[in-house]
């Protein structure tokens, strides 16, 4: 651990102690935040995985029915039948706050007649196409839900990574550094204190010695008279 480059003074120590306290409180808060975020994230991801599996299956089935439909119709007439949609789909994006991560919420609305989604007359198309369009329309809601989940999971994973790094940096770098520096300053101050005491004792000894010698000299001078 590296000691911070500071002057070993009492004031500096007080400052560092304050910083240490803040760091420890921040560490605790961030750790709690990380744990909670992790919990919510894992729940989200589990749902996400299940939904994706089912959506992919349904989508593949829809693609399959389009292939069937294409087999019984000419390419042009199929393209023509699908070309002009009856309804348009638009999305409103709201923001939801999960542990201070802003994730989108998609509310989609269809304009037009939702009871009849087939944009073509039934005269010139095959029944397979109806099936295909229906099965695709069926997945649409789930697809949007999936989109929302995946985006949320993506944004949350970034945030969790950041928080995780912050927690680790505080736990393994900032806090130990501060503790070590504080200890260093304390030692240094104590050492100074001891040095001071020793010096005082020494000075006192010297002064006593001087006095002793002075009084001795005076006595000898008196005897010599």
């Amino acid at each position: 651990m590296a000691r911070l480059n500071v002057n070993p003074t009492r004031q500096e120590m007080a400052r560092l102690k304050k910083r240490l306290k803040t760091a420890q409180r921040g560490h605790k808060l961030l750790k709690d935040m990380r744990d909670e975020m992790m919990m919510q994230f894992l729940e989200l991801v589990r749902k996400n995985r299940a939904l994706r599996t089912s959506v992919e299956q349904k989508l593949m089935r829809a693609h399959g029915s389009f292939v069937l439909a294409a087999a019984s119709m000419s390419e042009e007439s199929m393209a023509e039948a699908l070309m002009c949609p009856r309804q348009t789909v638009s999305v409103d994006v709201d923001v939801k706050n999960i542990m201070s991560v802003n994730v989108p919420v998609f509310n989609f609305s269809t304009s037009g007649d939702s009871s009849d989604i087939y944009p073509y007359g039934f005269g010139f198309t095959s029944g397979e196409l109806d099936n295909a369009v229906f099965s695709l329309g069926d997945v649409l809601t789930e697809l949007l839900e999936l989109a929302q989940m995946e985006k949320s999971a993506e944004l949350m994973s970034d945030e969790i990574e950041k928080t995780r790094r912050r927690v680790n940096a505080l736990e393994y770098v900032t806090i130990p550094d501060l503790q070590e520096t504080i200890r260093y300053i304390k030692m240094k101050l104590e050492e100074n204190e001891r040095g001071n005491t020793t010096r005082l004792m020494k000075v006192k000894d010297m002064m006593l010695q001087e006095q002793l010698e002075a009084s001795q000299a005076a006595r000898e001078a008196r005897l010599a008279q």
Binding site: M38, L42, V45, R46, N48, R49, R52, T53, V55, E56, L59, M60, A62, H63, F66, A70, M78, A79, A81, L82, P85, R86, Q87, T88, V89, S90, V91, D92, V93, V95, N102, V103, P104, F106, F108, G112, I117, Y118, P119, Y120, A132, V133, L136, G137, L140, L143, L144, L146, A147, E150, K151, A153, E154, L155, M156, S157, D158, I160, E161, R164
Partner: protein, 104 residues
């Protein structure tokens, strides 16, 4: 109001046209990249893109990685799923937790 877009080859997206989504029938990955990079991409809340195309334009997709919209979501195209979408879910767990604890 945002729109929903679907990018893919013609056969994969034509069904979505009928449902009223905006579709982009592209023939190669470069066209898909152009759509993802264009400023119009911001008008979409969700952009679905087939995995086959997505495999080739990762950088263009990463552009929208940190934004709330558009959400670029991989879907299997008509040729089936490549498993990229599902493995991305695992990757996210790995990024957040440090290792993939869901086990796949």
């Amino acid at each position: 109001m945002y729109k929903i877009g679907v990018i893919g080859d013609r056969d994969s997206v034509q069904g979505f046209t009928a449902l009223g989504l905006t579709t982009f029938a592209v023939s190669d990955a470069d066209e898909a990249k152009d759509i993802l990079r264009s400023p119009e991409a911001a008008e979409y809340a969700v952009l679905f893109i087939t995995e086959q195309l997505a495999a080739e334009c990762e950088h263009a997709i990463a552009l929208h990685r940190y934004n709330r919209t558009p959400a670029v979501i991989l879907i299997p195209g008509k040729d089936g799923s490549l498993g990229i979408g599902l493995s991305n879910v695992g990757k996210r767990v790995e990024k957040a937790v440090g290792s993939n604890i869901l086990g796949d």
